[in-house]
Symmetry: C2
Subunit: 67 residues, 2 copies
DNA sequence: GGGGTTTGTAACATATAATTGACATTAAGT
DNA sequence: ACTTAATGTCAATTATATGTTACAAACCCC
């Protein structure tokens, strides 16, 4: 589950904690997503996208079939 | 949680059951997602996208902030 | 080298996505 | 009208995303 959340977060000068707070999840959740260690729900992906002014494809798309 | 899964599935001439089988989930899961009644995981969204030759933005993006 | 901030993990609890099995409804065909 | 396939939905269970609390490693700054 690779993604570009970390990069986009840093572009906005936010810590994991700040991003988590603004989205309304815990820091651990953001951390695990950034590390690719799990599989967030669509609603959470969308919340992250809106907060970081990116689309789903920007942050979460990859051509490969596998995770 | 509106999305375009149903439309894309029909373009490919698949039933909910067939799509579910190819992705490896149950028909109920596909049904509920199409009806917008829940919040699939990213991995499942990606599986649907690849099967239907669409991107995340094609099937699951909407500009609105809310679900 | 000590103190604060950020990040990476871990164990356990809770909410909910997803499965299983079953039944009702709708749509299409004959 | 009858049959069959497809869809909508429900109750009960299982798997897993997320929360909570806590602690350690890494990085700055003084």
């Amino acid at each position: 589950m690779k993604n570009n959340v970390k990069l986009a977060r840093i572009e906005h000068d936010l810590t994991q904690q700040q991003l988590a707070d603004r989205i309304g999840v815990t820091r651990q959740t953001i951390n695990l997503i950034e590390k690719g260690k799990y599989n967030p729900t669509l609603k959470l992906c969308l919340a992250i996208c809106h907060m970081l002014k990116k689309t789903l494809d920007d942050l979460f798309w990859s051509e490969e079939e596998n995770e």
